[in-house]
């Protein structure tokens, strides 16, 4: 719905929205700019995964409102996410500087911050997203993976089940939210071994069941270490798994050279070499034909 642009009353201030990331580890990842957004806000909303981290955030601002109470067993998470957007936007429309603080990066696996920023901008408010250190960032550092080395595919595990996707077993495959894979109701916070077995059956089209994978969780508090478990694909349904844990499948086999494209590129190289040689020969001939110039006269 298009809302008319109304003139502000005298002295009224336009609301604004900043969605920032707190990073993954308390004290380690909060950027100076994200902290500044928090401190300068009129009201702060917190979408965090740890109660102690939420207490830490409360030290930074006197009005921190947790978004946790809007979750409930049996309630659609989509409804919860929409409520979050509504809560933030209500304060923006009331002329407040609003800061939404989310764990990790506010725009990675995070529908509400994107939606809130888009909604605020569509209504003419200033809105901004400030990146944070994400679980993915920590994963690369803690597991020693460079996504540029072999490539890296990321999927929400349920998406891999619900849609036709193409897995490339020569790249890393990173699966998020495996702990609740296959929950189509959006109301559960865990599914279970039978649902994970469906995932394993799907993956077994591309990977042998003894393919070693990694179950990873970043440190939330700085007294923790990252949790890293290695197991065979066939064992994935049987291990305890939380929503915070991520499953990484390393490449199964080497990348295959694309011989046709390589030959096409080689032809381009040869053609450009011929062009360069021709240009150099032409330049040499012109220089030889040019009369000698007195250096004193330029």
């Amino acid at each position: 719905m298009d809302l008319p642009s109304l003139p502000l009353p005298e002295g009224a201030r336009r609301g604004s929205l900043a969605c920032v990331g707190l990073g993954m580890t308390l004290g380690s990842h909060l950027t100076p700019l994200a902290r500044s957004h928090i401190e300068q806000a009129d009201v702060v909303f917190a979408g965090l995964s740890d109660g102690i981290v939420e207490l830490w955030l409360q030290r930074m601002h006197p009005d921190v409102r947790s978004l946790q109470p809007y979750y409930a067993e049996g309630k659609s998470r989509l409804e919860t996410y929409r409520e979050w957007v509504g809560l933030m936007m209500a304060q923006v429309r009331a002329g407040k500087r609003v800061c939404g603080v989310f764990y990790g990066h506010p725009g990675i696996f995070a529908w509400s911050p994107h939606k809130a920023v888009a909604t605020a901008r569509a209504e003419g408010f200033e809105a901004h997203m400030e990146p944070g250190v994400s679980a993915e960032d920590c994963l690369y550092a803690d597991l020693g993976i460079d996504p540029g080395r072999f490539g890296c595919q990321h999927y929400e595990a349920s998406q891999l089940l619900l849609f036709e996707r193409r897995i490339d077993p020569t790249a890393y495959l990173v699966l998020w939210q495996v702990g609740l894979v296959g929950d189509r109701s959006l109301t559960r916070f865990q599914t279970g071994p039978a649902y994970r077995q469906v995932l394993v059956d799907l993956l077994s089209r591309d990977y042998p069941l003894d393919h070693r994978l990694i179950v990873y969780r970043a440190a939330t508090l700085p007294i923790e270490k990252p949790r890293i478990r290695r197991l065979a694909l066939r064992d994935l349904p049987r291990v305890p798994l939380t929503a915070e844990e991520t499953v990484v499948l390393p490449p199964l086999r080497p990348m295959q050279p694309n011989l046709a494209i390589r030959e096409r590129l080689a032809e381009l190289d040869r053609a450009s070499l011929l062009d360069r040689n021709a240009a150099e020969a032409s330049f040499g001939a012109q220089a030889a034909a040019r009369p000698a110039t007195d250096p004193a006269n330029g």
Partner: protein, 97 residues
Amino acid sequence: MSDTIDLLEAIGRDASLRHAPAHELQQRLQEAGASGALKAAASSGDASRLAVEFGPKAMYSPQTSQTFHEDEGLGEEEGPPPLPSPDPDSDHAPPQP
């Protein structure tokens, strides 16, 4: 007794503490007057030991689902999303197709 949240933040932001060996961190926490719960959590690497001090805080992991069911009305089947519109304050317009 020192404040546990302050000490956690200090550990998180100090390179010599964040990756310190357990015995060294214990010594530093002892010197700083850390609570028993924090010392126990730090020595074991088990954050749940802090529940003694803060109480059990069951938290849902936020934003766990991004793939929504078709009948939720978010339109996954409508094709790829449009290119993001440029931030009016930004000098960096997205490349034109």
